[in-house]
Subunit: 336 residues, 2 copies
């Protein structure tokens, strides 16, 4: 579990690809109250929508953390950013990174952080002691988003449902399992980066027993059908012991992410396998709805697709961006 | 992948529980040619069967590695052993540990190893660069042992089959996925200790494409039915892309290992789920036999149990220790 100091200054470097600043945009979109501004370099053509400011301006206005809000292929730390990170530490900010490379592997950053009494947070790398899972029944209700594939909107769907629950004053907590979600929540565990023995146990710690009426909304990862990541997805499913599952899908994708010639499973297959495997640790686990990213088709086609799925499966089906998730929440709140 | 220098001197400390020296005994039983002797301290009441010798005697006789051949609860390194480890390094031996605690976290050991040009091998902790899995079809045949539970004889069964294949001059390699197996093989990857994203990919690297008639005998871990470790088992199953599976089981166990009140799955359930999940990356995957640890019952009862299972499932069923694995190998060699 990480505990991150806010507000954040979102550093987006000289990014030109909107997808490369997903981490910064997630925080700006879902936790605007935690984001004081963005710091950008000449050449940057994208934005989080937060006001632009320098490191010193942000520090003066109370910023507490400097967030490396972008990703490049490989997750490496570009040495060009080291002077900016040093500047932020000297200005009194903690530094938060979601890169594979660890800030703490740079002795000069460790030294500066120590000198100025600041923290270096490598949020992709779990800190703290993890245990193995047990699968014992625990109090409280839990929802987990699962997928036909990776990158099909599990975090977005989870956050949208959590926000709707907040608005309806239903006691609930968003439980982050990846670096973008951790930045939004200010805490969490990147489950795809824990030691394999601890996947399920980490989720049991992340979403512990709670009051009977409280909902944990747990961000899913990967897919039981993905040949690289199914182990992570299964450990997450077993550790979550979810009462309710929502299947996420991206319309029009022809092959599993980063794998050639592997078609996505059908929604029916995805529902059946997730329910089968989830019931090993929660016999009541049930898929209660479907969330689809329909951005590849027109609004009319999206509506027709969702209507057809609803008819076929007897479950509500929405595009969370186009239609919101209120109809999923309506069904969620009927789960005993 | 680890590459370990042999012969080994097996250090068993002052152990009194035969189970606590599983690592040392595995090496002595399965790779006696790699074991020059054992080093024991006053109070030790167990043995690997290797000749007793001091560190200096072993060094004189050509020992190349000093093996911490025991485990204690928690996998911690007892500071009492540091002087012996230092002694071994100064005598010119590498040091091999299967503990959770890393040798390389002890600056004094790192310094001595550097001074004497020796290696510190933490074989539970994967070294080298891992990739994510792809699930692409690859040449060569592979067998994976799977289980109803943890600690049901998957390593023993795998090694017994591999030895039988060697005796029949069938080209084959034992692929180790845990610390005891790695010590036997001299190389391998402890898959339960890799970062979760890389479970399947690590197995693809461990058991790469080979000639069409070559068998990789891959040591399984955990169980798809274990609430803590199913994610590891699924990643292993997907990465192995095994043509043949052998289900391992321990007769008379009343609950899944380290979990209260969770009965073991039936053999039928274990076969069905492993075949279902394995076929995601190898549509031809098939359970070809059953290996049971029958040590809880008499020889007569063991034979009756195995005969009943054979009748019920139509698959050969043996206790590898009591009956050997020749009958499993007979069936294995009929796999196209």
């Amino acid at each position: 579990m990480q505990n991150l100091a806010t507000p954040y200054l979102l550093f987006i470097g000289d990014a030109q690809d909107p997808l490369s600043i997903k981490m910064a945009r997630s925080a700006a979109d879902w936790s605007p109250e935690k984001c004081i501004g963005e710091y950008r370099l000449p050449g940057c053509t994208v934005t989080t929508g937060c006001p632009e400011m320098s490191i010193d301006e942000a520090a003066q206005q109370g910023a507490k953390s400097f967030v490396l809000g972008f990703a490049n292929s490989g997750g490496h730390l570009d040495p060009n950013w080291l002077p900016m990170i040093q500047h932020a530490l000297r200005a009194g900010l903690d530094v938060i990174s979601g890169l594979h490379d660890r800030l703490t592997d740079y002795p000069e950053l460790v030294a500066t952080a120590a000198e100025f009494g600041r923290q270096l947070h490598d949020i992709r790398h779990p800190s703290g002691r993890l245990r193995t899972g047990k699968g014992y029944q625990r109090e409280g209700k839990r929802l987990l988003t699962v997928g036909t594939d990776c990158s099909v909107g599990k975090m977005y769907t989870s956050l949208s449902i959590w926000r709707a629950l907040q608005q309806r004053q239903v006691p609930s907590t968003f439980r982050a399992t990846g670096q973008s979600g951790i930045l939004v929540a200010g805490e969490g565990i990147a489950v795809d980066c824990v030691v394999a023995d601890f996947i399920a146990g980490a989720v049991e710690q992340l979403a512990p027993a709670n009051t009977a009426e409280h909902w944990d909304i747990i961000e899913g990862q990967g897919s039981l059908y993905h040949p690289a990541f199914a182990g992570v997805s299964l450990g997450l499913l077993h550790g979550a012991q979810a009462d309710a599952l929502i299947v996420c899908h991206a319309l029009g994708r022809s092959s599993m992410r980063a794998i050639d010639n592997r078609p996505l499973p059908s929604l029916e297959e995805t529902i059946a396998l997730n329910e089968q495997m989830a019931r090993m640790t929660n016999p009541a686990a049930k898929v209660i709805g479907v969330a689809v990213n329909t951005s590849s088709v027109s609004e009319t086609e999206a509506q027709a697709y969702c209507a057809e799925v609803e008819q076929r499966l007897g479950l509500p089906c929405v595009d969370p961006i186009r239609h919101g998730t209120e109809r999923l929440v309506d069904v969620l709140l009927t789960v005993a």
